[in-house]
Symmetry: C2
Subunit: 207 residues, 2 copies
DNA sequence: TTTGTTGCGCAACACTTGTTATGCATCCGC
DNA sequence: GCGGATGCATAACAAGTGTTGCGCAACAAA
């Protein structure tokens, strides 16, 4: 009765996400997405009335990729540390998706930075409450410290050549993570000085 | 011999900066800037061959505003703390300029986040070396901690409704600043706990 | 007052965007 | 096979962008 459908909604959203990956959210135009699929612009508008709706779906797909990264971080030996590392990894490997999720205002796409932040905070809070028997408020305070560190690093990574080495970023992150562990677990004595704690952290991880 | 010039280059750059302030850098179009001045688009192109050149000047003007904020921070009782506070103030009062300076890639305008970061780091390093007799590397480490905190807060402020109150941000900032003072000055004993140090900091300031 | 220069308003050009009208070609039910 | 519903390519439209030609009118020198 009708010709077979060549492209599903999924294909279009994935193509649009690939455009974001390579050229950023501003390059997500009807013609650009169509070219990515090797199609005309027509099929896009059989699934979407406006490009805004497509962008909203792209945003959701990007968010689910982000959530995958963070979930994997929870599986690390020290989940608090793992979440931070995975956050940085997301920024390195998917900088344009990072910018879409965290550096654009809600109006332009949907959601906004707050949404992903709250998602992450909920995960970390649950993890801290469960592992360290921490109360919710304290957990949120520690999450805030983690967030301050990794959010800065990640944003520097995606907006410019980051002035800090991966090694330095890892060290600072481990220091913050260690502070959490130290506060709620008896941890082997720390070396003196604020910037030499990574060794102690490695010891802790090896236990 | 010729009609009097109505608009100087300066007027055009300032008008463009006002457009950035109210509608963001993407709204800086020839017609928008002309409307801001109540002129046609023609005068813009007597001073500039392309809009990109105008945007470069706008970027420089925004940077000088930023530098004014930071310079004022150095005049505070505790310059390290003052710089952080002024950085947050800049984000609150000039969010679009902040986004232009710190959340866009170098190619789009000129400069990029690194340029402003290096400028700020130089100022803070000099200040720390002078006041606390700190060596350059240590000063940069402390600057890094300050930067991590305020850069995260500021970026949250301009990209979304920040989940942290001004009071909480000020508290964390004072905590970081206090760590600097504590390391290089004998400071009255700190209350226990990682998140109650603002009282001690206030004491310090009152001395 | 005249004259020549030239800043600027007007309006056009080329281009890119979202969105849509048209018509071809496909392919399921018969 | 085959008819018709319909997915899709083509190409157009309107709106918005940067940029530029045209011509008026202002104004300093004569």
């Amino acid at each position: 009765m009708a010709p077979k459908v060549k492209f599903q909604k999924e294909n279009i959203v994935e193509a649009a996400l690939n455009v974001v990956r390579t050229k950023g959210i501003d390059a997500v135009t009807a013609r650009e997405v169509a070219a990515e699929l090797g199609v005309s612009t027509r099929p896009i508008f059989t699934y979407y009335d406006t490009m805004e709706q497509l962008k909203a779906d792209v945003y959701e797909l990007a968010k689910s990729h982000y959530q995958d990264y963070i979930q994997r971080g929870l599986a690390w030996e020290i989940p608090f540390y793992g979440v931070g590392q995975q956050y940085l990894r997301f920024a390195r490997e998917e900088p344009e998706l990072y910018k879409l999720l965290f550096l654009t205002r809600p109006s332009e796409a949907s959601g906004g930075a707050m949404e992903a932040l709250v998602f992450t905070q909920d995960l970390v809070r649950d993890s801290l409450m469960q592992i360290y028997n921490m109360d919710a408020h304290t957990a949120d305070c520690y999450f805030r410290d983690l967030w301050l560190v990794v959010f800065s690093f990640a944003t520097l990574i995606v907006t410019d050549d980051c002035p800090y080495t991966d090694e330095e970023m890892g060290r600072v992150l481990s220091e913050v993570s260690l502070a959490v562990c130290k506060a709620y677990k008896e941890v082997p004595g720390l070396p003196e000085g604020r910037y030499d704690r990574d060794a102690a952290f490695r010891e802790l991880v090896q236990q």
